[in-house]
Amino acid sequence: MKRLLIFFLLSALFLSSCAAADPPAKETDPPGSDPAASDTLPETSGTTKDTEKPTETDDPGTDETAPETGAETEPETEPATEPVKETEPAPETDPPIPDDEPTWTVGFGSREIAIPEKTDEPLYIAGYHQGWEIAGVSDLQRANAVWLDGGEGGILMIGIDCVGLSSDVVNEIRSRLSDLVKESGCVSVNVYATHTHAGIDTLGLWGPTGIDGKNKDFMENLKAAAAEAAKEAYENRAAGRLYCGSVDTGDLQKDSRNPKCFDPNLYQLRFQPKEEGNGVRLFFYAAHAESMRGDNKLVSRDYPGVLIDTVEEKTGDKGIFFPGAIGGLIMTEAQIPEPFSGDDAVKNRDLTGKRLAEYALSINNETVVAPSAAVSTVKFEVPLDNIVFQYYKFLGILGSEIKGGDPNGEYYMVSELSVVKIGKLAIGLLPCELTPELALGGSALKKSDPEPLNGIAAEAGFEKLLLVGLCNDEMGYVIPPSQFLLNPDAPYIDRIKDETGEDHYEETNSVGPEIANAIAEAFRKAIGA
């Protein structure tokens, strides 16, 4: 009897533990591969918007936009996956691409930029202090290139891990690719900087005063690496599907200047090849690549390098990073207490990059982007008010194009702005560091300020605008005219604080007060509004 009771007791315990176990997982849509979601991206004005559940259809590739993501509120939909943990590999969940589906042609190339071993000129670290030579290398700067062809001709995007590139260097790289352009039918070659503040000086502004900080041998290596990466991207091209997604990165960024306004989203264009092979991910994020901060003397790609490496390690996908509207001044929050000492700079960079990689891998609202990509380019000129820029141009250090100097003494900086049009998605390629409110709009802008770029894009019929700064030139910061303030005694040399105590540093590295209007006008022409 006793044995029977024990038996029943144990059986009851066993059965009750079975009943308490989780039910088998339901089959859900694979994360990040929801074809033809019909929702559109929100206006990125920094205001909160609710996330809508993606809808399913059977027709892939008809919608080019990703569903909304809330800027500051929790999404109402249940996330498809949890953020990928370090120990878990990313699940391979992309649906196969049918033979009759129109496809993109995308290729990726990458080269390290070698630091010359024997060189007559010093190697200065760019971003913070003049005359600081590099003390070592944490990770080498790279040239990454992506070939994008939606059927209207290939568009090359070449990203250089450096602080910035003047138009003369961009044009030299383009001239090295002239044969490739002829052979391939490439319609546009664009070269931009990731703006790492841990790279060797490529603008010439971080040598001793009045001395060109660029190293000729390093610049030659840079141009060669850019051209080789571009050629590799063309040779490696493959057919496949492109997805667009985004995720709110929460408190990862900060705005060091009022008004506090920035886009908190990480955007991703992800390429899935039709045949077996590695994908390609294009990351768009608005934060200065200066997580290693100002005392660092080690060469590094900063957090974009860690982001790309981490995602590649987890998924096998190659990555390329595009800086967004980072003026005014948007940077990443420190992940460890400041000030840094010892190897804190490297630690902070790694933590920042890994955190951003987690966000990237958690994107669960992707929609398919129909193959179509056209480029419009507009040349424009801006009055060059900055006497420091004039001085560096006279000395042959600043490589941007300048015209004027007639009897009235007015000079103009000449540059270019492009817009890549991918269905209802537009990508603005800006030769500057734009203050985010000039793109997002909002109460920060006054009557004297130009219409925000998001509004201009909407007028032209686009549902989403992504921005790439420091592209094809570097004109410095673009500040709204209503906020532009110079030190009257030493304009563009000494900064000034306004009556609220706000430091107007960015004006000292700006072409002048009229650049914001010039950029908006050029953008309007390029996007066709």
Binding site: G210, I387, Y391
Partner: protein, 143 residues
């Protein structure tokens, strides 16, 4: 009479060529050493550091040969004057005066060329105008 005119013409042309060569060499010398002379100016070290590279750049930009053109334009009228001058005791006196005028023209041509020629698209006059205003205010601690 004809021989005298030919002799005077040859003398005038020869003098002009010598003075042109002198102009170019003087301009090169001045530019090369002006950067050093800057250091003697009664301005702060930061100001000197800013001004010195400007004159290095003028040498690099090969400004000196450009001084020749305005110099020659100023020289031509004086050549005609010399050529038309009749024989007489005043001629040596006039020749000395002529040399002095040439040197003045040389200096003016040099200054004009250096200040108003564009180097990398920017005129030195515009750069100096901005910098000197700041130097006079004593506001060039950093740049």
């Amino acid at each position: 009479m004809k021989k005298d005119k030919i002799r005077r013409l040859a003398f005038a042309v020869g003098t002009a060529l010598l003075l042109t060569a002198f102009a170019v060499l003087s301009a090169c010398f001045l530019l090369r050493h002006l950067g050093g002379l800057i250091r003697l100016l009664p301005v702060g070290e930061d100001a000197k550091e800013l001004l010195a590279p400007i004159f290095d750049q003028l040498i690099t930009a090969k400004i000196a040969p450009k001084c020749v053109i305005p110099f020659l334009l100023l020289l031509l009228p004086s050549l005609l004057f010399w050529f038309c001058l009749p024989k007489g005791k005043t001629r040596p006196f006039v020749f000395v005066l002529y040399l002095i005028l040439c040197l003045v023209f040389l200096l003016l041509a040099f200054l004009f060329t250096v200040l108003f020629s564009k180097v990398n698209g920017v005129r030195l006059f515009d750069v100096l105008r901005s910098l000197l205003r700041l130097i006079s205010n004593g506001l060039l601690d950093r740049m």
